[in-house]
């Protein structure tokens, strides 16, 4: 079982390496290097470094003038990698921490592997590399699109056609620009049809050459066919390269989830080795990397601020309400108007409202507790909480369809309490109703059941 698993893992990593090499990423480490990195071996560190730095350079090539890593000294490389990872939102202590590693060798290969996993998990890196490569190879790729940058949160400069301008007063430069853009599009359409014609003719030529090549190997004929064949060969190579990329990508997509399972195991092995104290306000079941993300920090701060604001508003509201009620009580003397409620009645109302809200909240937050759910064993490691890498934003605590048993139990207990309270209240209401009815009827005495 273990042997099969490790073989599978090797296949998966090999497919990832094939995809990256098809996308012209240089110096890709072997699957063996990845495995050694998992166990934080020293010899894998250099390989992982070069992979990480090359990937990040490609990713940020549009945005910063990065020098070739071969000439850079290692300090510059370290600084670049750290700043790039920080920008991507990766918050490992060796990236963000107050004592950054002074030398490249101080960063373990496992940390590098985790960083690589983080960058890959955003999903944008692969897309970016793919579009870049396809744009290079495909001579008439769709429209004047600018390759999207990999930096999260950056606005995509998409090419959209000129829309209908409804303002009467129009900018003349804009008009001229729209005209030129339209002209470009029309030229492009013409080129596309020319391209199709060319391919149709080359197909005819090729089929004629291949049929006549067997019967008449003419000297002039072969020369001519050589001329045409060099252009065709180039075309063929390009198409083969595109094909290779497509196959590698599909292969990777098939095995991707296994890769992330394996990355989970890497994280688990890093967790068992981690000796530093985790921060106290770390909620359990947080996103897998177990290191704080600067973006996450920001959102947490924002949430805390909102909480405080809400609390302040609530107390103010309560204060106003008590003021109002005392005012009305004192101003209207003994008259119990609709606005004035006694203390106990208000408590009653509040409890009712909170009960309803609780009920609503519980029914809406977790479909698992409200609907039925199937208990299942956690996989692959039963001791750690299951978590998956998503291509969504980091910081989400809810995972796809799985909930830990203890959390589920707590929710269910809360729900039970609320429902019990509601049930009790309903019973009380019914009892009062019955007593009222009984008292109105003459000659009828109601004997309530003995309370148990």
């Amino acid at each position: 079982m273990q042997r099969e698993k490790s073989v599978k893992v090797k296949e998966v990593i090999t497919s990832l390496c094939k995809l990256l090499s098809a996308l012209s990423v240089e110096s890709i480490p072997t699957a063996e290097a990845f495995r050694r990195a998992k166990f934080n071996r020293k010899d894998a560190a250099l390989d992982m470094w070069s992979l990480l730095s090359r990937l990040l350079q490609r990713a940020f090539a549009l945005d910063c003038a990065c020098q070739d890593s071969k000439d850079q000294d290692f300090d510059m490389q370290l600084l670049f990698v750290r700043s790039a990872l920080c920008y991507c939102g990766y918050g490992a202590p060796w990236v963000l921490g107050p004592q950054p590693p002074s030398h490249i060798k101080e960063v373990g290969s496992r940390d590098l592997l985790l960083a690589f996993g983080w960058v890959l998990s955003t999903g944008k890196l692969l897309d970016f590399l793919l579009t870049e490569k396809v744009y290079q190879l495909d001579t008439l790729s769709s429209g004047p699109a600018i390759a999207k940058s990999v930096i999260p949160g950056q606005l995509d400069i998409e090419s959209h056609g000129p829309g209908v301008d409804t303002t009467v007063k129009k900018d003349q430069v804009l008009q001229a620009l729209q005209w030129q853009y339209g002209k470009l599009r029309l030229h492009w359409k013409s080129l596309l049809s020319a391209q199709e014609e060319k391919s149709r003719f080359t197909h005819r030529v090729i089929s004629n050459i291949s049929t006549s090549a067997d019967c008449q190997p003419h000297v002039t004929g072969s020369h001519h066919s050589n001329m045409t064949s060099t252009a065709l060969d180039k075309e063929l190579e390009r198409i083969q390269a595109l094909n290779g990329i497509l196959e590698a990508y599909l292969d990777w997509k098939l095995h991707e989830h296994l890769f992330w399972c394996w990355m989970d195991s890497v994280i688990d092995s890093s967790l068992t080795d981690v000796s530093e104290v985790e921060p106290v306000d770390w909620p359990p079941g947080e996103r897998a990397v177990m290191m704080r993300c600067p973006h996450g920090d920001e959102t947490r701060r924002a949430v805390r601020r909102l909480d405080k604001m809400l609390l302040r508003l609530q107390t103010e509201l309560r204060a106003i309400r008590t003021e109002q009620s005392t005012l009305t009580l004192t101003s209207q003397g003994g008259r119990q108007g609709a606005s004035g409620l006694s203390e106990s009645q208000r408590m009653e109302v509040e409890k009712k409202v909170s009960g309803y809200l609780e009920g609503l909240r519980l029914t809406n937050t977790s479909a698992i507790t409200s609907g039925g759910f199937l208990p299942c064993l956690q996989d692959p490691q039963p001791t750690k909480p299951p978590h998956r890498f998503h291509t969504g934003e980091p910081g989400l605590a809810v995972t796809a369809g799985k909930l830990q048993a203890s959390v589920a139990l707590d929710e269910l207990r809360e729900r039970e309490a609320v429902l019990q309270w509601q049930l009790e209240r309903l019973r009380q209401n019914i009892r009062e109703e019955m007593q009222r009815q009984a008292s109105t009827m003459e000659g009828m005495v109601l004997i309530p059941p003995i309370k148990r």
């Binding site: 301008d165 002209k183 359409k189 049809s193 014609e197």
Partner: protein, 446 residues
Amino acid sequence: MSVVSLQLGQCGNQIGQELFSVICDDSNGPNRKKYKQCSDERFFYETSTGELVARSVLVDMEPKVISQVVVNASKSGRWTYGDKACFSQKQGSGNNWANGFCVHGPRHEEAVENLVRREIERCDRLAGIFTMMSVAGGTGSGVGTYITQRLRDLYPNSFILNQVTWPYGAGEVIVQNYNSVLSLSHLYQLSDAILVHENDTVHKICSRLMNIKHISISDVNKVIAHQLASVLQPAYTADSPSHYCTNPIGELMSTLVCHPEYKLLSLCNIPQMSSTSLAYSVFHWPGLLKHLRQMLIASARMEEGIDWTVSAPSAVTSRGESATNSRHKNFNLSLANLLILRGKDVSTAVIDGFKDPALYVPWLNTENSFSTWSSPVAFNGYEKSATLVSNNQSLLKPLNNIVRKAWNMFASRAYVHQYTKFGISEEDFLDSFTALEQIISSYTHL
């Protein structure tokens, strides 16, 4: 290099047949071997027996017109329509755009698409799809608009040039304005360029210039076909000065309709006269071009009755007057013009009059606004002929009339129930009106 044409409705089919006749006659004139080769490749394909078959698909909801058109075509002996290139049904569309667009169109879309696809696949290279329809009826406008929509989805990278015929102002069909408004608003989004012919104008050409006493529909169609052929026949363009252009529709569009808001094109062709007077006339390029320029400025459509008082604003304005004020109030501002000269000594023609920047919008410089095509081959019996395809304001007035009349009818909801019963709601009407108002506004504020 090949144009696939789509003839829709009664008007479209008749015009199409006349167009192919004119093209065939023109190509078979004297001293034009290469011209004929290019033109044949563009519009016809050869069968194994050496017969020329038009690259055309005929669509109508009635069988009568198509059968007549096919018979007329084979009568010429030089070309025919394809055997399986026709699509017709038994019942018509009743001059109802909604019937054509919502009922007949979807019902028969697959059959028509297959026909068009067969024609397109037969071409080595598709220069573009050329549709002919009238906007007043039901089939041409309704089914035509629907088919254009489908073709746009199926061939997003191909050029679609719609030739539309606007009806007589005095009205052949009572709901023609509704049909016109609905078709034009839809077509504007779908096609790359809309080439407009007005029945009124062509009728006047027939009566005044050609001296035809009893004008029949076929006379009108012959004039329209003549004008269209003068645009579509081979010519030398700026991009291909030494051999006939292989991308006529693409080049036409990239010189005239680059801006997505301005797609209406008008056609002016001179000289136009009856064949009897043709023998006695001599033409000179300077005279022709002068007339053509004044026709452009004064929005005249024919050579007679040109308003010579209209002039372009001078480049130097006195006392700080703005250019718009000094412009004559009937002056027709152009966005872009394409001048096609065909005939003898075409290289001697002086076209600088058209390069005057005062004729064009200020935000486009002259090399973008004006282009010329030429061909040394005399066209259709005329020793010299000049055609101007223009993207300008001259169609504003007739368009305004159509929209105004349609709106007056719509305000009282006259005949609207005929449309709503097929699925065109009042909102659709309002959307169409809005779209056309937008077009009118864009052209007015050029």
